[in-house]
Symmetry: C2
Subunit: 121 residues, 2 copies
């Protein structure tokens, strides 16, 4: 691997990648949000909350459609709140969950592929 054909050489200036396009801190912050999202149940919970009439739901609204226990749903909601994707509002005995737009907007802006994303706007 010490020699390579010049036609495909990565030392060709036209191909050279010169730096790190996203800093480590930003990449780590973004990875935390993506990891919180990367679970099918959590994606279904978010879609259900977003689709609910007032854009909010409490744990009892979410258990039956997904056929999961309240502790399981609560566990997933907690992860989404910790990642800043959901906001929790305690009213009386119940906590209501809404999607925080900021975190997902930031994610969308930072997702690789800014060129084609820009072209779409």
């Amino acid at each position: 691997m010490t020699s390579r054909p010049s036609a495909a050489s990565s030392s060709d200036p036209g191909h050279q990648v010169t730096g790190v396009a996203i800093g480590r801190d930003e990449a780590e912050r973004l990875a935390v949000v993506l990891k919180a999202l990367s679970d099918p149940t959590r994606l279904q919970l978010l879609a259900m909350i977003e689709a609910s009439p007032n854009g909010e739901a409490c744990v009892n609204d979410l258990t039956e459609p997904l056929e999961l226990s309240q502790p399981t749903i609560s566990h997933h909601l907690k992860i989404l709140v910790s990642a800043g994707i959901l906001a929790r509002d305690k009213r009386g005995l119940w906590s209501w969950y809404t999607i925080v737009p900021d975190q997902l907007q930031t994610l969308r802006a930072l997702l690789p592929g800014p060129t084609f994303l820009r072209n779409e706007r």
Copy 2:
């Protein structure tokens, strides 16, 4: 938890969540893509490939800026290829990697928050 105040009741028709807004299959497929993305090094690799002059890079272009070994970079690139986020084109001795727009566009369309995403357009 058997009684709750009617003002905050989830059985209020205005608050009722009636179904599953994303099917399980779709959620599982999306979760696989998100999981592949949820690593800071992989996010940095994608950003570097996207920012490179021709939108493509080979493993040697990527090792030095990130100060990681070639096997480590290759491991991360393989995960991104498996998830359909990167395409690999072997030319001569080297493999060149480009971002596949489709997978990220689908991800973006399916990400929770369609209401505010629609409002932005």
